[in-house]
């Protein structure tokens, strides 16, 4: 479908843009900044502030002939409109003439600014937005310098209104542009901000419980064109001009949002730079100009006093500080001794470089590399994952998306947003889950399956399994899809269930031929930011981790805490001769280790991560690492050295080159390729008058998709749908299903004290009928005995959940990774 193009003149420029483009955007294309307040290229135009007024003329058309009337010189006769028009609401038309430089326009801008300032406090010196504030900038550029209004009649209102614990509102500064309200309604569909009253009395309110209940709330502080909305995390923290931006990648989930760490040197950290705030960095193929609140607020861990900063070795039963040299020598000797008995258990928060060096190190000893995850299926995302040219933002009419066994809103918020938007653009969305999730509302088909039967549901979608009639309709909708992306997760599933599910999804994609080209394939909604990278390098979870750990002579745990995860794993590990842990903190595993090696956090080093969409992206050092810590890849290289291996440890970029030489998926990639920036549209990040928010421009690279693992036309080894299931019937016990919550009690969240109230707790949710069967009532404390541990939970009734099972979040202090049978007891209350 070709777009109809329209040619128009804007001042001295001639520009051709697609029909439907707003004048303000067409002007931006040719570098003409029309000032705006209420307009934002990602929101509906409303024409509320009048700042964008311009003169517009249109060709005169002779009514009789329908022809454009010409001037004597042959040029079309232009009729200027009698009044100024808002450039943000007016679509371009052929032959249009836009004038932005006339005195009439200048006067309009002057007066609009003057008018807005009649109820604005102008407290710039104490305002967080000062220095990056459109109102400040536009006043300087267009304001008159004086006001004809009476100073005493300025509005006076509340200046520190907590909309929740994360966002503060200054009611005086609000210029009523409605950007925050529209963002919450249109973009993220959390309608928890709105106007109250009108005219000069108008104010922004929230009535949600908790206040401003939205996992995207921080974005409103970016797009607010004044200092009315600020985050509790950053307000009064620093001035914009004091901070330096460092490009990075959010490592809190597999989306891999592009971010910036704004850092400043501070006396309290002895003159070292510290992270003051996390901001989105525009990447229209990944996160557009948004990030979620987890990405924005979970950054305090790296400055925690609990960080490990020197190697610890067990001497006489006690972990005792030792030198790096001694630590590395001991570790190397142990690795050598272990030989095949070495088991390396790696977590998905490690970078590509870390994982590569650890793999080389382990393989050289003949040891085993394992990925620490509760999710299987990466062998399929590796072969059938997304390739170059894929962009969820380009899916729409005629395409289809399947999301199965995942609560995307909680597990990968930006994917949730992008999938929702694709559905709103016309893509057919099919959501399958055992319980309702927030994506159902946008789905053409929201289908349910029995707890545990996710793979069966996909088989049903293919017509290979008996399923309700609704599946038939969904199948028909899928059949004609031009492009198809399938997301699978681990909602209510464990390792066996997800592995079967992934294989069945692979079967579906292969049957319909939706793979091996852009915008088609399988995406795993992993727990960690770089699980996909690990799979690409051949890491996989052990089918029986307890068994594998039991057999280990030496266990090397990097970014993995099996001891903290499950009592059975702790027991298994106790049998190993020697346990080495590479960690930032003294985790439960580190406490039990023989040797602990302190590592650098992501903002303290270079590296790259592979997102769930198979996009490799670079992160850069933002702050110096504390003395005594080293990046994981360096540690692995230094161990290798002592074992006579030639591992690269000097720089992450050099490790990446080795990786590119060794792994076909990374072939031809380099840090240079990853850091290539492409022009993004809409243009929003710049410090100019067409204000798109305090989002940063992307000058440090959009990342690159990994290479296809299959050659053109090649199919993966034939698979059949796998219908193995996990525990689905707990007999007399209660079947407890795990699910993932955005703010869990994971090791990094807890350092952001601001988030305490939003963190998931051990709440057991179940249908009232099931509750009754087990003698449970709303709000009671119950004790669960599952996976060899006793845990106390609070019971919550939820009509929306299907009967027969209960749901409990992962990582809330209860060892639950896969469906489990639990004995339940109501606790005596004293």
């Amino acid at each position: 479908m070709t777009m109809k193009m329209v040619t128009l003149r804007i001042d001295e420029h001639t520009v051709e843009v697609p029909a439907g483009t707003r004048v303000v955007d067409a002007a931006k294309k040719v570098g003409v900044d029309i000032p705006v307040f209420c307009y934002h290229p990602k929101l509906e135009s409303v024409g509320m502030c009048r700042m964008c007024l311009v003169e517009i003329g249109r060709p005169v058309v002779d009514r009789a002939s329908g022809k454009v009337v010409l001037e004597a010189d042959g040029s079309p006769k232009i009729q200027m409109a009698p009044k100024l028009e808002t450039a943000c609401t007016t679509p371009v038309s052929d032959g249009m003439l836009v004038v932005t430089t006339s005195e009439k326009v200048a006067a309009a801008r002057r007066e609009v600014v003057e008018f807005i300032l009649t109820s604005h406090p102008l407290d710039c010196p104490i305002c967080d937005k000062g220095g990056e504030c459109p109102l400040q900038n536009l006043t300087m550029a267009y304001g008159s310098g004086t006001s004809r209004f009476i100073f005493d009649e300025k509005m006076r209102s509340a200046k520190h209104v907590p909309l929740g614990e994360l966002i503060y509102l200054d009611r005086e500064r609000c210029i009523q542009c409605g950007r925050c309200v529209r963002f919450q309604h249109e973009v993220v569909d959390d309608p928890v901000l709105d106007f109250y009253q009108r005219g000069r009395a108008l104010e922004i309110i929230t009535r949600s419980e908790p206040g401003f209940d939205s996992v995207f709330s921080g974005n409103t502080t970016d797009i607010c064109p004044v200092g009315a909305l600020t985050t509790a995390d950053f307000r009064f923290g620093a001035r914009p001009w004091e901070m330096k931006p460092a490009a990075s990648i959010c490592a809190q989930c597999p989306v891999g949002c592009n971010i910036v760490y704004d850092v400043r040197r501070e006396a309290k950290s002895s003159g070292k730079p510290v992270i003051k705030r996390v901001m989105p960095r525009q990447n229209e193929s990944v996160n557009e100009v948004w990030i979620c609140d987890k990405g924005r607020f979970v950054h305090h861990y790296n400055e925690s006093a609990e960080r490990l900063t020197q190697p610890l070795m067990r001497v006489d039963g006690e972990l005792t500080p030792v030198s790096w040299q001694q630590a590395l020598e001991t570790a190397a000797a142990k690795l050598k001794e272990a030989g095949k008995g070495l088991v390396t258990l790696a977590g998905g928060r490690l970078s590509n470089e870390d994982l590569f060096n650890l793999r080389e190190l382990t393989r050289a000893q003949g040891g085993t590399t394992l990925l620490h995850t509760h999710m299987g299926g990466g062998e399929w995302t590796r072969q059938l994952g997304l390739n170059q040219g894929s962009n969820l933002g380009s899916l729409g009419n005629g395409d289809a998306i399947v999301v199965i066994a995942s609560d995307l809103h909680q597990e990968a918020p930006l994917w949730w947003l992008r999938v929702k938007q694709a559905a709103q653009r016309g893509a057919t969305l099919i959501v399958l889950n055992a319980r309702p999730t927030r994506l159902d509302a946008y789905a053409a088909h929201a289908l349910r399956y029995q707890p545990g039967e996710a793979a069966q549901a996909v088989a049903g979608l293919m017509g290979n399994h008996k399923t309700p009639a609704a599946f038939q309709t969904a199948r028909e909708a899928l059949a004609g899809a031009a492009n198809l992306v399938v997301f699978f997760g681990s909602d209510g599933l464990g390792l066996t269930g997800t592995r079967a599910l992934a294989q069945t999804c692979a079967d579906l994609l292969m049957q319909s031929g939706h793979y091996g080209r852009p915008n088609n394939g399988l995406v795993g909604v992993w727990q960690h930011s770089n699980d996909q990278g690990a799979w690409e390098m051949g890491y996989a979870p052990a089918a029986d981790l307890v068994g594998s750990l039991k057999k280990a002579k030496v266990a090397l745990l990097a970014a993995a805490d099996p001891v903290g995860d499950e009592p059975a794993l702790a027991k298994a590990l106790a049998g190993a001769d020697f346990v080495i842990v590479q960690e930032m903190f003294l985790t439960a595993s580190a406490e039990k280790a023989d040797l602990v090696l302190p590592v650098a956090a992501i903002p303290e080093r270079e590296g790259s991560l592979t997102s769930g969409e198979r996009r490799a992206q670079r992160f850069y050092p933002a702050v110096p690492a504390p003395d005594g810590v080293r990046p994981d890849y360096t540690i692995a290289a230094q161990l290798g050295q002592r074992l006579g291996l030639e591992l690269e440890g000097r720089a992450a970029g050099l490790v990446f080159l080795r990786l590119a030489q060794s792994e076909p998926a990374f072939a031809g990639l380099s840090y240079q390729a990853l850091s290539t920036a492409e022009e993004q549209w809409p243009i929003v990040g710049r410090r100019d008058l067409y204000f798109g928010g305090t989002t940063y421009d992307n000058n440090q690279g959009m990342g690159t998709h990994l290479q296809p693992v299959l050659k053109a036309g090649e199919r993966p080894a034939a698979v059949a749908a796998a219908l193995d299931t996990e525990l689905m019937d707990a007999g007399d016990n209660l079947l407890v299903l795990p699910h993932t919550r955005l703010f869990d009690q994971g090791s990094l969240v807890r350092f952001s004290r601001l988030l305490v109230e939003r963190v998931a707790t051990a709440e057991l949710r179940l249908n009232p009928a099931t509750a009754k069967h087990f003698g449970l009532a709303e709000g009671v404390a119950a004790s669960l005995n599952l996976n060899g541990a006793d845990a106390s939970v609070i019971v919550r009734m939820d009509d929306a959940l299907p009967p027969g099972a209960a749901w409990l979040p992962r990582r809330v202090g209860v060892p639950l990774w896969a469906p489990a049978a639990a004995q339940v007891k109501v606790m005596e209350r004293d």
């Binding site: 309608p191 928890v192 901000l193 709105d194 109250y196 009253q197 005219g199 309110i205 929230t206 949600s208």
Partner: protein, 173 residues
């Protein structure tokens, strides 16, 4: 069934019946009007109930309450004297009228007379601009317009309202 439905089962059902399910949010205006019938204001509880009935957020329902001077979030006097002071009315002396009325009743805009009878409010255009000064009275589940007003005529209206209140009080007793 939520509280509002329990209190006015037929009215709520009749209102909801008017709108197809996908336009349920349109029922917000009549539901709010219903919710303040008894107490003269929309309670927080009713806001939650209406949010539930219309599928809107409580924030959005509150926003509608705030936008229209027809609706009230706070309790007030039995009768709300709503004086229009928008531009056309102001040109015809609404500001002076309002000032005198406040003086006469001994209360300012937003306040209620000690007997709980009257609250004065300043409102936006009520579409009677050519007959200003004017005000509308909201109370006893009713709305009445009073146009071409002077303070004297207004006080007559209020006197009438007092009598009406007394009468209905006696009847009730």
């Amino acid at each position: 069934m939520n509280e509002l439905q329990k209190r006015y089962p037929e009215d709520v059902a009749a209102i909801l019946k008017k709108y197809p399910p996908e336009f349920r949010r349109s029922a917000i205006m009549p539901l709010l009007y219903l919710a303040q019938r008894q107490d003269g204001h929309v309670s927080g509880r009713s806001v939650t109930d209406i949010a539930e009935l219309t599928g809107l957020s409580t924030t959005d329902v509150t926003s509608v309450v705030g936008f229209y001077t027809l609706f009230h979030a706070e309790a007030g006097g039995r009768y709300r004297i709503q004086v229009c002071t928008d531009l056309p009315c102001a040109l015809r002396g609404a500001d002076d009228f309002l000032a005198l009325l406040q003086k006469e009743l001994g209360i300012s805009v937003g306040e209620t007379t000690p007997d709980g009878m009257f609250t004065i409010e300043e409102v936006k255009c009520l579409a009677a601009c050519h007959r200003a000064p004017m005000f509308q009275v909201q109370g006893d589940g009713d709305i009445t317009y009073h146009e071409h007003q002077t303070v004297e005529s207004a006080m007559q209206v209020l006197k009438g309202l007092r009598q009406q209140a007394q009468k209905s009080g006696k009847e009730a007793a």
